[in-house]
């Protein structure tokens, strides 16, 4: 059996929503190049909903697939709904990840939540 599921390979090879959002409403970064995985998420918010989600990721196949899946799951959701996305639910949507990839590479939801928190902080400061 291949190392990754078909779904993981699909998201790795054809990642959805790669890129940056200029003047993003929120930005969240997680991980560290030293550890081998780093993700940056950008969000655009309209009417309390995630109008757009984009990401850039340095990391292994799982890290890229996770980022892509998170962006897909989050797009169009309300901020509260998006906060309910967990690393575990992302892994589940991907049809599972190898055990040793559950830790470091599976940080997409955390990065998204950071972007939402960044947005809320900016709103509060306004």
């Amino acid at each position: 059996m291949a190392f990754y599921s078909e779904k993981v390979m699909d998201h790795f090879q054809n990642p959805r929503n790669v890129g940056e959002i200029p003047n993003a409403d929120g930005k969240g970064e997680i991980g560290n190049p030293v550890c081998g995985d780093m993700m940056t998420f950008y969000i655009k918010v309209k009417d309390n909903k995630l109008e757009d989600v984009k990401f850039k990721t340095f990391g292994c196949g799982a890290a890229i697939a996770v980022s892509s899946m998170v962006s897909e799951m989050a797009k169009g959701k309300t901020l509260d709904e998006a906060m309910l996305i967990t690393n575990a639910s992302v892994a589940q949507e991907l049809g599972g990840l190898p055990p040793n990839k559950m830790h470091c590479s599976n940080l997409g939801a955390d990065a998204l939540h950071k972007a939402i928190e960044d947005y809320k902080k900016k709103q509060a400061a306004k």
């Binding site: 790795f12 190049p33 990721t57 340095f58 990391g59 890290a63 830790h103």
Partner: protein
């Protein structure tokens, strides 16, 4: 799809001639080499021939070759077996190894440390070279064994074993070298190298899995690590794996006869890859020694991206490589070899190891040079590190937003 296998330090493809030599010992010649009857005698004869073939490859005598199941076992036997034979009373003695040894050497040393020996780990320079001067300075009055690999399987750097063994022998200390990467690929002569113990493996020169050997110089004592039989002159119990040993023997014979032609071919393919790759891929850096390296080893770090992504995309093109990145290792730890060369950790994550074989052609190299750059571009376009570098001209330091504590599980 043409398959281009570039993971030859892990395992090589069996030579067809080797397979043919092995087949009778998987079929009609199934006897145990220790049996007295005619079927057993056939296995015994084959064992003797293979021992001679392997001895000829490294310039030793037949009775100095001890077959094992793999190189890890041979390294365990060398390190633990010699330490046990030459141990002193409290403390038991000091062992010197380099920090870039194979895990079978490093963990054998660790085991001895737990058993009351002391171990000195020697550093390497940025090319992965062990300084003979460091060896000299590390030797203590109670040093009993020094083990320095002949060449490194990851970065390809070849050590000056002749010089190091002289230094060690001046102090009348035992010297072992792990020659897994060199034996069968470059000329290896135990007398010229001046070693007491040497590990080699058939899997590195187109032999089968299941056979490796330890050269033990006549007169050197080694305590068996597998007890219970008279096989291998009492130094390694267990029924001999005749088909694999026959294969290793034949592979050794072929390797010796064809070494010069393979060597020249590998050098020319390696040098093409080493010289052309950085021209096609910006911000790529050769790892290991630029000149004193294995003829089949190419190792680059490709900056701003991570090794596993490259490995997976190359895999889809039929190009099979490996990487020293943390993500690629099952333990999620960066390669201890790259770490020892003090390479920037983020850059090390982008390491790609390509090890060539005699089956690789010039067309294969052209194909790699064509297919690799677009893969790098694709991953860099996704990389926040590359985006940061393009915007600022600077490398991103571990900074804000990088506070996530990884809980790496211990091996």
């Amino acid at each position: 799809m043409t398959e281009i296998y570039l993971d030859n330090h892990s395992n090589t493809k069996l030579d067809e001639r080797v397979l043919n030599e092995m087949l009778p010992y998987l079929k009609e010649n199934y006897g145990n080499a220790q049996s007295m009857h005619s079927i057993g005698a056939k296995s015994k004869d084959a064992l003797d021939i293979a021992r001679k073939q392997v001895a000829d490859l490294i310039g030793s005598k037949e009775n100095e070759i001890y077959f094992t199941s793999c190189a890890s076992e041979a390294n365990n036997l060398a390190i633990k077996g010699a330490a046990e034979a030459y141990k002193q009373k409290n403390p038991k003695g000091n062992i010197i190894v380099s920090g870039i040894e194979h895990f079978s050497v490093l963990y054998s040393a660790k085991r001895l440390e737990q058993a009351g020996f002391t171990v000195t780990y020697l550093p390497v320079d940025k090319y992965g070279t062990v300084s003979p001067e460091d060896v000299k300075n590390a030797i203590k009055p109670d040093t009993i064994l020094v083990s320095i690999q002949h060449a490194n399987p990851e970065i390809g750097t070849i050590q000056d074993i002749e010089v190091i063994s002289k230094i060690v022998h001046e102090k009348e200390i035992l010297f072992h070298t792990d020659a897994v990467c060199t034996a069968g690929t470059v000329p290896v002569d135990v007398n010229k190298l001046g070693v007491d113990l040497l590990t080699l493996s058939g899997t590195q020169f187109y032999g089968p899995k299941g056979a490796a050997a330890l050269y033990i110089k006549k007169g050197i004592r080694v305590i068996p690590q597998i007890d219970g039989g008279i096989q291998e002159n009492g130094r390694r119990a267990g029924t001999e794996n005749i088909p694999a040993i026959v294969g290793m023997g034949k592979a050794a014979e072929i390797a010796k006869n064809e070494m010069a032609q393979n060597y020249n071919k590998l050098i020319s393919l390696r040098d093409k890859l080493i010289s052309q790759l950085p021209k096609n891929i910006e911000y790529s850096y050769l790892n290991g020694h630029p000149a004193g390296r294995l003829p089949n080893n190419v190792n680059f770090s490709i900056e701003f991206i991570e090794g596993e992504g490259m490995l997976l995309f190359l895999d889809q093109k039929g190009i099979y490589v490996t990487s020293g990145s943390a993500c690629t290792s099952k333990a999620l730890k960066m390669s201890h070899v790259l770490a020892a060369t003090k390479m920037d950790t983020a850059v090390a994550q982008g390491s790609v190891l390509m090890t060539l074989s005699k089956y690789i052609t010039a067309e294969n190299i052209d194909f790699i040079l064509k297919e690799f750059p677009p893969i790098v571009k694709r991953l860099r376009d996704m990389s926040p590190l590359y985006a940061f570098f393009q915007k600022t001209g600077k490398r991103q330091e571990a900074g804000p937003g990088t506070d996530y504590e990884h809980e790496h599980e211990e091996e």
